[in-house]
């Protein structure tokens, strides 16, 4: 912890007893007394919090940007430094209308209509911001939960769980709250969050969406994955087999985010279980594409699943998941499937599409075009080439447009070339007319 933060914390703790018995009430009084404008306050942050001094804040594996974009994983591309929380409260007509949380950095000087409360107690700040949640929801995109979550020496997980259970709050607020209950909690949160996941299953998920959905159960499954020391993982594994369909989908999604073999084995079991619904199996197959590392076991499983599977939808999901592999074996396999005349044409077209969306090179796709005999496949390869950004793809399309013996292919190539915003293409096509 930096000296600045220690000093802030010490000052805050010193002031805390004098600011009122009810946690957060003294801050509430001081904010209520402030004129319209900005109210600033500063408090110590948790040891696992850092920020970029602007709108980027990281807590454990959660990152927030402008409090709108959330990401889970490791910090990359953000200069994340320790520092105190600097929170700006917007007041209009004596009411709080917004909360903006920054970590590190310094206040901009010379701003008008600013009331600076200075350093405050972190636990008291947490309690104050938790108390703001019901009154601010739906009115501000800057949620006070982040301001509460970063506060040092405050156990906010139980309060977050309480908010997540409060059915009068919006789904979005409850989703955020359950996330924090998991991310900031400990093993004691596993049972209540699991219960919340089971109780809220089935309300918001679409069968076509292989992701965790935007229901409370998806957030609860995610929260289990966030509990430190993997304490929530066994419960997540159980939910993957015994929850409602939407809970099972969410559980396999979050298990798929993990790189440990036990979690992935559970996901593979669900993906290969013919008694499971197609929607959950698709979610599991999708989840196998979501880990940080290429897993040979996953790849072998997906290949085997593809070969034994009769559902085109599940096969397509396998094609997608393989396309997400970083290593070249996945691309080779996809191109093989595109060439495989025993496969249905639609599957072959999907294979080349996902190869193009993945890591297939223009040379790979061009070679496939050269060997393709079916017009429907060739047409699709032309489309896939049109979606590549490399200059070589445009060159190949030009070559097809000018020289392919099949007029339909020349026509398709011209059409897709015309969709490119490139003056050279205009000249090329014009030259074809005036030659």
């Amino acid at each position: 912890m930096s000296h600045t933060r220690l000093a802030s914390l010490a000052l805050a703790l010193t002031l805390a007893p004098a600011l009122g018995a009810q946690p957060g009430t003294s801050i509430a009084r001081r904010v209520a007394a402030a004129p319209d404008g900005e109210v600033r306050l500063t408090y110590a942050t948790r040891p696992d919090v850092c920020g970029d001094g602007r709108d980027g804040v990281s807590i454990r594996r959660s990152m927030f940007f402008s409090d709108r974009v959330e990401s889970y994983g490791t910090v990359s591309g953000m200069r994340c430094i320790d520092g105190p929380a600097r929170v700006t409260i917007t007041v209009r007509d004596r009411k709080v209308t917004g909360v903006r949380t920054r970590v590190g950095g310094s206040w901009a000087s010379g701003a008008g209509d600013v009331t600076d409360l200075g350093p405050v107690s972190a636990p008291e700040a947490a309690a104050y911001f938790i108390s703001l949640v019901p009154q601010l929801e739906g009115t501000s995109r800057h949620n006070p939960m982040l301001a509460a979550a970063v506060a040092d020496s405050a156990n906010v997980a139980p309060e977050m769980l309480r908010l997540a259970r409060t059915t009068s709050l919006s789904r979005d607020t409850r989703r955020r709250a359950v996330h924090w209950a998991g991310a900031l909690g400990d093993a004691s949160m596993v049972a209540p969050i699991t219960e919340l996941a089971r109780a809220s299953g089935g309300d918001r998920t679409s069968a076509d969406d292989p992701g965790p959905g935007d229901g409370l159960e998806g957030a609860a499954a995610g929260a289990l994955a966030m509990i430190p020391d993997d304490a929530g993982v066994p419960a997540l594994m159980t939910l993957a087999r015994t929850g409602s369909p939407s809970v099972r989908k969410a559980a396999v999604f979050w298990l798929g985010q993990r790189d440990d073999e036990r979690s992935r084995a559970v996901v593979r079991t669900v993906a290969g279980d013919e008694r499971e619904t197609d929607a959950v199996r698709r979610a599991a197959i999708f989840a196998l594409s979501q880990g940080d590392r290429d897993s040979p076991a996953d790849f072998a499983f997906l290949r085997s699943l593809f070969d034994g599977e009769s559902s085109d939808k599940l096969k397509e999901q396998v094609l997608f998941s393989v396309s997400q592999r970083e290593s070249s074996d996945g691309t080779r396999w996809l191109l093989d499937k595109a060439r495989d005349e025993r496969q249905p044409m639609e599957v072959r077209r999907k294979a080349v599409f996902w190869a193009g969306q993945g890591h297939a090179s223009v040379a790979d796709i061009s070679a496939l075009y050269a060997s393709a005999r079916d017009e429907r496949l060739k047409e699709h390869i032309i489309f896939v080439l049109s979606q590549q950004r490399e200059e070589a793809a445009t060159t190949k399309l030009i070559s097809i447009a000018k020289e392919d013996p099949d007029r339909e292919m020349r026509k398709k190539a011209l059409f897709w070339l015309a969709q490119k915003d490139d003056p050279r293409i205009t000249k090329l096509i014009t030259d074809l007319v005036v030659r």
Partner: protein, 258 residues
């Protein structure tokens, strides 16, 4: 002397068209029908569609129909829905007389010049859907030069609906195509030819018409003005006529008046 005769003929057509307009107004409310001589090379089934030159069909038919087998030459037959003397819709057919479910007041045969003048005036003044279809009714009239008035309608952004202007521009582009291909104003002749030996050029013209941000329009205009092959110029003119771009009117005017 010749100019004086032409002016007199024009005045006579306008007077006839006014007389026809009066008859339509006098009908009040209901369905009216009339017929007149259609251009040579136009045929239809008398109800749903007509064809120009045998390759291009206009109208409605289901995929199971085979319009070419039922396409018969015959007069243009137009049915209009009129409400309180105002034409709301115009339906154009060519060929044999066929029975319709809805009975109509038959205004009988009118001269093609009278019909063209009436329908062009209708297109020029109507804000209804009928204005759009009135253009087509005028275009298929036999032995009448309509492109100059179509051009004026295409340019009339103040009063004429955009759908009517677009339809006028489409037909103007067909007349421009007929001209560059050496067919004068015989637009049925261009419809009957589909013998471009180099399909790639046709496809390339189409590709230019599909370019994002109308990037391809300038080259299309250049091709329409200067390409050595009239077929290619015709393809370019077709897509210029479809573009909806304000520059199209000027290009087509220049070609037709040039």
């Amino acid at each position: 002397m010749a100019l004086a005769l032409l002016a007199a003929a024009g005045a006579a057509e306008r007077a006839q068209a006014q007389a026809l307009a009066q008859r339509v107004r006098a009908a009040g409310t209901g369905i009216l029908e009339l017929h007149y001589t259609a251009r040579p090379g136009v045929c239809g089934d008398g109800r749903r569609f007509f064809s120009m030159g045998g390759n291009t069909y206009y109208g409605n038919w289901s995929s199971g129909d085979r319009p070419m087998h039922t396409c018969q030459p015959g007069p243009a037959r137009v049915r209009m829905r009129v409400e309180r003397g105002s034409v709301k819709t115009v339906r154009v057919a060519v060929g044999p007389a066929v029975a319709h479910e809805e009975p109509a007041t038959d205004l009988g045969a009118v001269s093609s010049a009278e019909a063209a003048s009436f329908f062009l005036a209708l297109a020029d003044t109507s804000t209804e859907r009928g204005g759009h279809d009135a253009i087509t009714a005028a275009v298929i009239a036999d032995s009448v030069s309509v492109w100059q008035r179509l051009l004026a309608i295409a340019e009339n952004t103040g009063r004429v609906s955009s759908a009517t202007r677009r339809n006028a521009l489409f037909w103007v582009s067909r007349f421009a195509t007929a001209k560059v291909m050496g067919h004068g104003e015989d637009i049925t002749e261009i419809e009957s030819r589909d013998d471009d030996p180099d399909d790639t050029r046709r496809d390339a013209v189409f590709a230019l018409s599909q370019m994002r941000g109308k990037q391809g329009l300038d080259p299309l205009i250049e091709i329409a003005r200067t390409h050595r092959d009239p077929q290619v110029r015709g393809h370019a003119l077709f897509w210029i006529g479809q573009s909806g771009d304000p520059r199209a009117v000027g290009v087509l005017r220049q070609i037709l008046r040039g």
